[in-house]
Amino acid sequence: MKKVIVIGLDGFEPKIAEAMIARRELPNLMKLQEQGEYSRLRTTYSAQTPVAWSTFSTGTNPGGHGIFDFLTRDPKTYLPIMALSRYEQKNSFVPPKVVNMRRGTPFWDLLSAKDVQSTILRVPCAYPPDQMKGRMLSGVGVPDLRGGFGTPTFYSTRKDLHADQSEKVVNVSVDKNRIATCVIGPRDPKTKSDHKFEINIQIDRAENKITVISQGQPDKLEVQLGKWSKWLKVKFKVGMMQSVAGIVRFNLRQIEPEFELYASPVNFETEEPLYPISSPKEYAHELAMKIGRYYTAGMAEDHDGLNLGRFDEATYLDQCHIVMRERRRMMEYELGRFESGYFYCLFDTPDRLAHMFWRFREPDHPSNHGEYNAEFANAIEEHYRECDAIVGEAMKYVDDETLFIVLSDHGMNSFQRGLNLNTWLDENGYLALKPGCQPGDGGDFFENVDWDRTKAYAMGLGCIFLNLKGRESNGILSNSEAESVQDGIVSGLAGLVDKDRGAVAVRSVVRREHVYSGPYLSEAPDLIINFSEGYRVSWDTPLGGVPRGLFADNRKKWGGDHVIDPALVPGVLFMNRKFRTESPSLVDLAPTILNSLGVSKGAEMEGSDLLS
């Protein structure tokens, strides 16, 4: 085969896709299935974007690449930390360096070694980007300018408005139709305050718009009521001698009676990114010169703006369309000059959109707060049609010598109820609170946890860690004690019933040795929880909270999720060739792609060529 073209549709759910194909609503995917084959695709433990795509890239289980969850913990401090990359700083004279925590050997390394070119757009967990022959644009893992997944800012004249988690709120006042304010940039590590970029807002009430006037580019940016603005390039002076560039876009929510303006997280600017986001380094900007400025942050969709109620569903859908359109332009531009080798483009939006719109499929979903709105009941289906059209566009570049693959990393499901894992551990004698403390007294980060009496603790999206002697800083369990503690948790949690609902919330609990192997096994959580449909860890669990009560309704707009038993959320796999449909798995893709391009699979790769 001369070419392999892979279109990734993050979180594309087989049950929805299959039903739509049966109704002939996804013509291009249907055609692909008729030409070749379709199957559900086994995903990873756990079923999360960074874990699953890293397995796709390396052809190994997570024990071979070291990404087990978005989050991990520092065993020295018990604090949850971002698992995808780390900053390392040799001394205070040099800037911190970003280090990718996805290890193992991605298959494009093997292609590069045989002089086969790759074009890879927005692959997760390649930040900083891999050095390879061809071009790569990093995806999930690239932060915003503040170093997180994305912190938006909300400007309001309301004095009673306070910032929620993951956002900044700026109280502004209007003086003769003018507002003097600023875009919030990175935090200064010395002074702890935020760097700011001054902007002036001129309100035009008659035209329902504002103009953002600044030293940025453009110097005057028009923002229409309810519409997403174009990008504004800003520069933060982070020292007398140094500055950092970024791009931000606005959405004007209202002018009267209160002024409300939303600003996206500040994304890296492609010409002067804070850290490289492409390989070669200049490629990100070269692409921007061709297709225009684009979202560079790994999480481009502003789910927080919707989740926190800073804008509505229609505005979120608009923004999702912008992201899809620019990604499609990238894909078309690159496919247009793609001659041989490997091509990959990931569309993240099916995942981010379904997280936020799943609740409209279930009128009694607690996220609806009893006020069901049927308007968006088919939002996911409508979006899947847009994905299908993109597949159709990519197909135009498929010839007889092309293997064409469309796949998702995992599916999507309902998230109605959350389990407070740490509270369960407390009730069952595995986690101890300091004397006099009750669940619900403390906040995140294991406040009030008494480590000297704690055997196990939960953090991340369904992980339990043992408090092991010699590993955790206040570890108390010896290896032999660890055995019986694990057995106790596995048998106690499996089949756990949510009494309010009369439903089984946890299907099973697995020990890491049973699902992972390889050089990074020791970094894995000790136990992984397999939740039933409709369940997930509660909102309080990932950062180490111990709230009151075992179960909680999920009342956030983020009403769909997939971090449940991986057997319940497989992905989709379409190819334009017949392939082995007996239990295909994400680990099989790397060998399949390599073989198609005439390159042998890597020694560590666990899967096999689906076409042979």
């Binding site: 949850p80 971002m82 997180g148 997944f149 993951s166 935090r187 001698m241 140094q242 990932p542 971090v563």
Partner: protein, 205 residues
């Protein structure tokens, strides 16, 4: 503390202080202080006696400290990597004595960046151009531009920052005389705030 002095007699103040692409130099300027030197005297002279001048190098030699001077970056880096040193001085012969090209400035900054990798936080770094200086260390209480600085003051300032008693015959005057030195820990933001920043916007949490 250790002292690393890098001397580039051909580097003009104008370009050193204004070229924004000199990222490594600018980071050091932000960390510490910088400025023009008003008199042309030699910066590395600590004291002048009737028939002898005491240089920084001699000062360290007399104190039985590990010191060395280099004329190229790669042998300097080998020494820094070995770690057994108290004072190192570089006068880079591979750079022109005058009329630096744009490439020379960029090469200088790249070499500087590569060299900084081998330092530890207990280092004072001084960069001397044609009539100008940059001085960065974790304990340096001075920041920003220093006006009307004299080159005779460079050596005593370095000695004082490094924590050695000044010889009585010292010619210049230390810029940090009588000032409280900063404690040398760099990053001070609360751990929790940094964590929250890094996880902000994940959606799943």
């Amino acid at each position: 503390m250790k002292i690393l002095a890098l001397e580039f007699p051909g580097a003009e103040t104008q370009t050193l202080f204004n070229e924004t692409r000199l990222e490594n130099l600018r980071r050091l300027m932000d960390m510490g202080c910088f400025g023009e030197l008003r008199d042309p005297a030699e910066w590395n002279v600590l004291a002048r006696h009737e028939n002898h001048t005491l240089t920084l190098m001699e000062f360290f030699q007399q104190a039985n400290k590990q010191c060395a001077s280099f004329d190229d970056f790669s042998s300097l880096r080998a020494k820094l990597e070995a770690g057994d040193w108290d004072f190192c001085q570089l006068t880079a012969r591979s750079f022109p004595a005058d009329n630096w090209s744009a490439d020379d400035y960029m090469n200088f900054d790249r070499e500087l960046g590569d060299t900084l990798q081998y330092l530890s936080d207990d280092t004072i770094i001084a960069i001397l151009g044609k009539g100008c200086f940059v001085l960065a260390s974790a304990n340096n209480p001075l920041s920003g531009e220093l006006k009307n600085a004299s080159s005779t003051d460079v050596a005593p300032t370095l000695i004082e920052l490094a924590g050695y008693p000044l010889p009585s015959s010292v010619e210049g005057k230390s810029w940090v005389a009588g000032m409280e030195l900063k404690s040398s820990s760099g990053l001070t933001v609360e751990e929790e705030e940094i964590l929250r920043d890094r996880l902000s916007g994940l959606g799943y949490i």
